[in-house]
C-alpha cells in the first residue's frame, strides 16, 4: 500500500536525478526545464484518486486522506507553474540551470511528504528539508547583493524558528512519549498531562509552522526574502511553503474534531486579525512591487487563518478552496513581474499601451487578489467569510471585510499606474521582445482560472459547500 501511495514522489526523485545529470552536458541543459515540468505533470497523473477513508501508510508515518490528496495536487500544480515561470526568468543563467530545477523538484517532493505526514518526526524532517532548500533558492543569485542578503536573513530567521519548533517537539515527545499526532490527540482527551508545558510546547511548534505561513509575529523575514529572491522563487515561497504551512497547521492543531488546544479559535482569530491588518496597512505605501506582493501574501495568510479560526467543516473546505484560488492569483501577479522585469510600481506607468497582454493579466490577477466579484478571488473571499459568519465570528468578519477595502487601494495603485497614468516610463520591454512561450502559457492558465472559476467554482470543487 505504501509504495503505491509514494509512486508520485518516487517518479519525481527519478526525474530530479535525471535533471541533475542532464545539466552536466551542454546539449541536455536546454531541456532540463522541460524535463522537470514533464516530471511534475507525470507525478500529477500518478496521484491516487481522493479516497474518503484515511489510512496510515509507510509505518504510520504518513496519512493518505482527502487533505493530503488535495495538498499534493496543489503542490504539484504550483511547482509546475513555477517551473514555467522560471523558464521566462533571464537571471537564471545557462550554466547552473540544472541545479535550479533539481532544487525545485526536491522542494516539491519534500513538501508532498510533509503535507501527508502524521508523525512529528516526519513533519520535522520534511519541514527542515523544505527550509534548507528554500534558503539556497532564495540566495541563489550569488552575484546579486540583494539575493544573498535575503538568503542569509531568511536562513537565520528560519533556522531559529525551526530550532524552537524542534525544542517544542522534544517536549511533546517527553509529555506523550510518542511522536504520532492522532495518539497524542487521544492522550490529550484523558486530561492527565501537565497543562502549562503542553501549551508552551504547542506554541513553540506553532512558531515553526507560522514562520512558513508568514503569520504576523513570525513574518519578519518574509518581505526581505520575497524582495531579494529571484521572482519565480518569491512566487514559489508565497504558494508552496505557505500551503504546506497551512496543511501542517490543519494537521497539528485541527487534526481531531475538537482542536488540540481549547482556545485555538480565539488564538487563531486574534492572529488572523493582526496578520490581516498589519499586512494590508504596511502594504499601502510600498513602492517595490515584489515587497508589496509579499505584504499582500501576508494579508492573505491572515484571511486563510480566518478560515481555520472558524472551527467547522465548511471552514476547512473554505481554506482548501481559498488556497487553490490563491495559488493561481499569486502566480499570475508574480508572473507579470517576471514578464515585464519591472520592480518598482512607478515603472509600470503606461504598461497598458506598451504591452497590453501583460497589463491585462496583471490587472485581472490583482483585482482577483482584491476579491472583486466576477473573478475567482471573490468566490474565495465569499466562502471564507461565510465560514467565519457561520461560526459567529462577527468581529473577525467585519475586520476582514474592511481589510479587503484597504487591500483594494494598493492593488489599485498598480492598476492606476498601468492604465490611468498618461506618462510612459521608457521600459526596455515591449511586445516585440521574444518571450518564453511557457511563461505566456502559465499566465494564460492563471487568467482562465481567475475568470472561469469565479463564475463556475462548482466545476472543480464539487465538495465545496456551506452546509453546516
Amino acid at each position: 500500500m505504501t509504495i503505491q501511495f509514494l509512486f508520485p514522489e518516487l517518479l519525481l526523485v527519478f526525474f530530479a536525478v535525471a535533471v541533475l545529470f542532464g545539466s552536466v552536458s551542454n546539449f541536455f541543459k536546454k531541456f532540463t526545464p522541460v524535463v522537470a515540468a514533464l516530471g511534475l505533470l507525470g507525478a500529477l497523473l500518478l496521484l491516487p484518486a481522493a479516497s474518503q477513508s484515511s489510512t496510515a501508510v509507510f509505518f504510520h508515518l504518513l496519512e493518505a486522506d482527502t487533505i493530503s490528496a488535495f495538498f499534493r495536487t496543489l503542490i504539484l500544480i504550483g511547482s509546475a507553474l513555477i517551473v514555467f515561470l522560471s523558464m521566462g526568468e533571464p537571471q537564471i543563467q545557462e550554466q547552473d540551470r540544472g541545479e535550479f530545477y533539481f532544487f525545485i523538484l526536491t522542494l516539491a517532493i519534500s513538501m508532498m511528504i510533509a503535507v501527508s505526514s502524521r508523525n512529528l518526526l516526519m513533519i520535522y524532517i520534511a519541514l527542515e528539508t523544505v527550509s534548507i532548500i528554500s534558503y539556497i533558492l532564495v540566495g541563489y543569485l550569488k552575484q546579486d547583493a540583494f539575493s544573498s542578503e535575503a538568503g542569509l536573513k531568511y536562513f537565520l530567521f528560519g533556522a531559529l524558528s525551526t530550532g524552537i519548533m524542534l525544542y517544542g517537539i522534544s517536549l511533546l515527545y517527553g509529555l506523550f512519549g510518542t511522536l504520532d499526532l492522532p495518539t497524542m490527540a487521544a492522550a490529550v482527551k484523558q486530561e492527565h498531562i501537565y497543562f502549562p508545558i503542553f501549551i508552551l510546547s504547542m506554541v513553540f511548534v506553532l512558531a515553526g509552522l507560522a514562520f512558513k505561513c508568514s503569520l504576523v509575529p513570525f513574518h519578519m523575514a518574509a518581505p526581505d526574502a520575497y524582495q531579494g529572491a529571484p521572482t519565480p522563487i518569491s512566487a514559489f515561497l508565497s504558494i508552496g511553503p505557505k500551503a504546506m504551512g497551512f496543511a501542517l497547521l490543519l494537521r497539528v492543531f485541527l487534526g481531531t474534531p475538537t482542536p488540540l488546544i481549547a482556545k485555538w479559535s480565539a488564538l487563531a482569530q486574534w492572529l488572523a486579525i493582526i496578520t490581516m491588518t498589519l499586512g494590508n496597512i504596511i502594504a499601502l505605501k510600498q513602492t517595490n512591487v515584489k515587497r508589496l506582493l509579499a505584504y499582500s501574501s501576508i494579508a492573505h495568510a491572515g484571511f486563510m487563518l480566518m478560515a481555520l479560526a472558524a472551527v467547522n467543516a465548511s471552514g476547512i473546505k473554505a481554506l482548501l478552496f481559498y488556497l487553490f484560488i490563491y495559488v493561481f492569483m499569486n502566480v499570475g501577479a508574480f508572473g507579470c513581474v517576471v514578464l515585464t522585469q519591472r520592480q518598482e510600481v512607478a515603472q509600470y506607468a503606461g504598461l497598458s499601451r506598451q504591452y497590453p497582454f501583460a497589463a491585462f493579466v496583471m490587472s485581472i490577477s490583482l483585482l482577483s487578489l482584491a476579491g472583486l466579484p466576477p473573478l475567482a478571488g471573490f468566490m474565495a473571499k465569499f466562502v471564507v467569510i461565510a465560514a467565519a459568519i457561520q461560526a459567529k465570528l462577527y468581529l473577525l468578519a467585519i475586520i476582514a471585510v474592511l481589510n479587503s477595502v484597504i487591500a483594494l487601494f494598493y492593488y489599485l495603485r498598480i492598476i492606476k499606474a498601468m492604465y490611468l497614468s498618461k506618462t510612459e516610463i521608457g521600459g526596455q520591454l515591449n511586445s516585440t521582445v521574444p518571450h518564453s512561450r511557457a511563461l505566456i502559457l502559465a499566465l494564460t492558465l492563471t487568467l482562465l482560472v481567475n475568470i472561469l472559476l469565479g463564475l463556475w467554482p462548482q466545476g472543480l470543487m464539487p465538495w465545496l459547500s456551506l452546509s453546516p
Partner: protein
C-alpha cells in the same frame, strides 16, 4: 360635445407653432396669436351661451391614483369662470393687437408672441380647472410665462434679476399653497372644488389650510408680504405689464379665493385674515404710489392697492363685490397701462417729473388716459365707481367699520395719485424738450375700445349678483364715495396745477414721511438683509462645511491609514537581530496570553 376644453388648446397651439417656426413667420406669428385669442373668445361666448341653457361642468378622465382613489381632471363651468374667460380673452386680444405696434422693431418678435400665447393658454386653463392639482399646473405655467416675459429683454441685467425675483417670490407663496392643499386633501379627502359645499362647521385644521391656500394667492396677487416682485416686474415690455401684471395673472389670486369662497366662508378666521391682508396692502401701496415718480411704478402700486381692495371686498363677505371690482379693474387698469405704454413708446422715458403738456401732442392717448384715470379714481359715471361703491357698502353692511375706513382712505389716496399723474404728465408746460408724437393706429384703436368698456363696464353689474342675492345701492354710500373721489381730485389740482403755497408747505413739512414712502418702506432692503444675504451666506457655509468636514472626514480616514502605514513600515529595520527579537517576543507573548499569566 363640450368645447370648453378647446379654449386653452388654441393659444397653446399658437405657442407651439410660434416657438418652432415663429422666426420664419415674422408678422404671421402675431396674426396667429391674435387669431387664436379671438377663437378662444368666441368659444367662451359659446360656453356662456351653453351655460345659459344649463350645461354644467364635466370630467375629462383619470389623471392619477392617489391613496387608491382615482383623481380625475375636469372642466368647471359657472358664472365666475365665464366672467374670467371673457375678460381674459377679450382684453388679451386687444393687448395682442396693441403689442403688434409696440413690439414692432424687436429682434425676438415671434418669441414674444409665443410666450404670450402660452400665457393665454395657461391663464384660460387656470380658470377652467376643477381641482387643485390641475389649477396648480396652470398656476405655475402662468408664473413661468411671467418669468419669461419679465426677463424678455434679458440684455438688461435688471430684467433678468426681476424675472428670477418674481418667480421665486411667487414660488414661496406656492409652497404654502401646496402644503395647504395637502392639508385640505388629508382632512376632506378631495382636491375638487365642487366638494366644498359638503364642508361641516369651522375646524382649526381647515382654517389653517385656508390661510395657507391664501398664502398662494398672496404670492400670485402681490399682496402685502410678497408684493415686492410686482414693481420690479415693470422691467418687462408694457403690454406685458398691462396683460399679466394688471388685468389677468395678478387677478388669479383673487379668482382662487373667490373659487374657494365656500371654504373661506365656513371659517371666519380665514376670511378675516384675507380682509386684513387686503386692507394693509391697499393702504400701503396707495401711500407709496402717491410719491412715486415712475409712471409704470405708480400704476404697479396702484394695482397692488386695488387688488388689496378686492381682497378686502372678499374678506368682508362680498363675493359679488370683489369679483365685480376684479372685472372693472381689469378693463381700466389694462387701459391705463396701454396709455402709459404708448406715452413711453412716444417719449422714451418713464420719469413723470420730466414729462408735461403731452395733452396737446397726443390727443387720443390723453383722452383715453383721462377716462381710465377717472374710472380708477371712482368718479360716478365710470366703472370704478360702481364696483368700489359695492365694496364699501358690503364692508359697511357687514359691520367692518375699520375696514370701511381703510377702503375709504384708499379710494381718497387713489383719486389723489391718479389726478397727480394726469396733471404732471398731460397738463402744465413740458418740463423738458420732448418731441412726442401720437402712436400709430394699431395702438390707439385698442385704447379707444378699452376706454369705452372702462366707462360702461359699471352698468353691467357684478356677474355673480344673481348667485349672491340682489344688491340694492344706497344713495348715501354713493354720495359719500363720490365726495371722497372729488376731494382727492381737487387736492391734486390745487397742488400741481395751482402750486398753492399752503398745500406745498404742508408737503414740505413731512419730508421724513416722503423719504420713507419714496423708498417703499425699505421693504426690499429689509428682505435683502433678513432673507437673501443670510441664505447666500448659509449656502456658502454649507458648501465649505461639505468640502471641509464631510469630505475632510473621508480623506482623513485615508490619511490616517496612510500615516499608520508609514509608521508600521519602519518596524522592518532590516537588521536580523530585530527580526529574531520580534519572533522570540511573539512566542513569549503568545504563551503568556494563552496561560493567562
Amino acid at each position: 360635445m363640450h368645447i370648453a376644453h378647446y379654449i386653452p388648446l388654441f393659444p397653446f397651439l399658437a405657442f407651439v407653432i410660434n416657438i418652432f417656426v415663429g422666426r420664419r413667420l415674422k408678422i404671421g406669428s402675431a396674426y396667429l396669436a391674435v387669431g387664436t385669442c379671438v377663437l378662444s373668445f368666441l368659444c367662451s361666448l359659446k360656453v356662456w351661451q351653453g351655460f345659459l341653457q344649463g350645461e354644467r361642468s364635466y370630467s375629462l378622465g383619470t389623471w392619477l391614483l392617489i391613496q387608491g382613489k382615482p383623481l380625475d381632471f375636469g372642466i368647471i363651468v359657472d358664472p365666475l369662470t365665464i366672467m374670467m374667460l371673457l375678460i381674459v380673452s377679450f382684453i388679451g386680444t386687444f393687448i395682442l393687437i396693441y403689442s403688434i405696434g409696440y413690439m414692432h422693431d424687436d429682434p425676438r418678435f415671434s418669441r414674444y408672441f409665443a410666450y404670450i400665447s402660452l400665457f393665454m393658454a395657461s391663464m384660460l386653463g387656470l380658470v377652467l380647472a376643477d381641482n387643485f392639482i390641475l389649477l396648480l399646473i396652470f398656476w405655475e405655467g402662468v408664473g413661468l410665462c411671467s418669468y419669461f416675459l419679465i426677463a424678455f429683454w434679458h440684455e438688461r441685467p435688471a430684467a433678468a434679476k426681476a424675472g428670477i425675483k418674481a418667480f421665486v417670490t411667487t414660488r414661496i407663496g406656492d409652497t404654502g399653497f401646496l402644503v395647504g392643499m395637502l392639508l385640505l386633501f388629508f382632512t376632506t379627502g378631495t382636491f375638487h372644488f365642487s366638494d366644498f359645499q359638503f364642508l361641516r362647521g369651522p375646524e382649526p385644521v381647515l382654517t389653517l389650510a385656508a390661510i395657507l391656500i391664501f398664502a398662494g394667492a398672496i404670492g400670485k396677487s402681490a399682496q402685502f408680504p410678497l408684493h415686492v416682485w410686482l414693481p420690479d416686474a415693470m422691467e418687462g415690455p408694457t403690454p406685458i405689464s398691462a396683460l399679466i401684471h394688471a388685468a389677468t395673472m395678478v387677478a388669479a389670486g383673487v379668482y382662487l379665493v373667490a373659487r374657494c369662497f365656500p371654504l373661506f366662508a365656513a371659517h371666519p378666521a380665514a376670511l378675516q385674515t384675507v380682509a386684513v391682508i387686503g386692507g394693509i396692502s391697499a393702504l400701503m401701496a396707495a401711500t407709496i404710489a402717491v410719491v412715486n415718480n415712475d409712471i409704470k411704478r405708480v400704476l404697479a402700486y396702484s394695482t397692488i392697492s386695488q387688488l388689496g381692495l378686492m381682497m378686502l371686498g372678499l374678506g368682508v363677505g362680498g363675493l359679488s363685490a370683489g369679483t365685480f371690482h376684479l372685472m372693472t379693474h381689469a378693463f381700466f387698469k389694462a387701459l391705463l397701462f396701454l396709455c402709459a405704454g404708448s406715452i413711453i413708446h412716444a417719449v422714451g422715458i418713464q420719469d413723470i417729473r420730466q414729462m408735461g403738456g403731452l395733452f396737446s401732442k397726443m390727443k387720443v392717448t390723453s383722452v383715453t388716459f383721462c377716462i381710465g384715470a377717472l374710472a380708477l379714481a371712482g368718479v360716478p359715471p365710470f366703472a370704478g365707481f360702481w364696483s368700489k361703491d359695492e365694496i364699501l357698502l358690503t364692508a359697511w353692511n357687514n359691520h367692518h367699520p375699520v375696514l370701511f375706513a381703510v377702503a375709504l382712505l384708499t379710494s381718497l389716496l387713489t383719486s389723489f395719485y391718479m389726478a397727480r399723474l394726469i396733471f404732471l404728465v398731460l397738463f402744465g408746460k413740458p418740463r423738458s424738450e420732448l418731441h412726442a408724437h401720437e402712436s400709430p393706429a394699431v395702438m390707439t384703436i385698442p385704447l379707444v375700445v378699452l376706454s369705452v368698456f372702462a366707462a360702461l363696464a359699471g352698468f353691467i353689474g357684478s356677474p355673480l349678483k344673481e348667485a349672491t342675492g340682489a344688491y340694492e345701492g344706497s344713495q348715501v354710500m354713493m354720495l359719500a364715495s363720490t365726495m371722497v373721489s372729488l376731494t382727492g381730485l381737487g387736492l391734486a389740482y390745487l397742488i400741481y396745477i395751482r402750486q398753492m403755497a399752503l398745500p406745498q408747505s404742508l408737503l414740505m413739512s413731512c419730508q421724513g414721511l416722503k423719504q420713507l414712502l419714496l423708498n417703499k418702506y425699505y421693504i426690499d432692503e429689509i428682505y435683502e438683509v433678513v432673507l437673501v444675504k443670510p441664505i447666500l451666506r448659509l449656502c456658502q457655509g454649507s458648501f465649505s462645511f461639505d468640502m471641509k468636514i464631510v469630505d475632510g472626514l473621508v480623506n482623513g480616514v485615508a490619511n490616517v491609514t496612510q500615516f499608520c502605514s508609514g509608521v508600521l513600515r519602519r518596524t522592518q529595520t532590516g537588521l536580523v537581530q530585530n527580526y529574531l527579537l520580534v519572533q522570540v517576543f511573539g512566542v513569549v507573548l503568545l504563551i503568556m496570553w494563552l496561560l493567562k499569566i
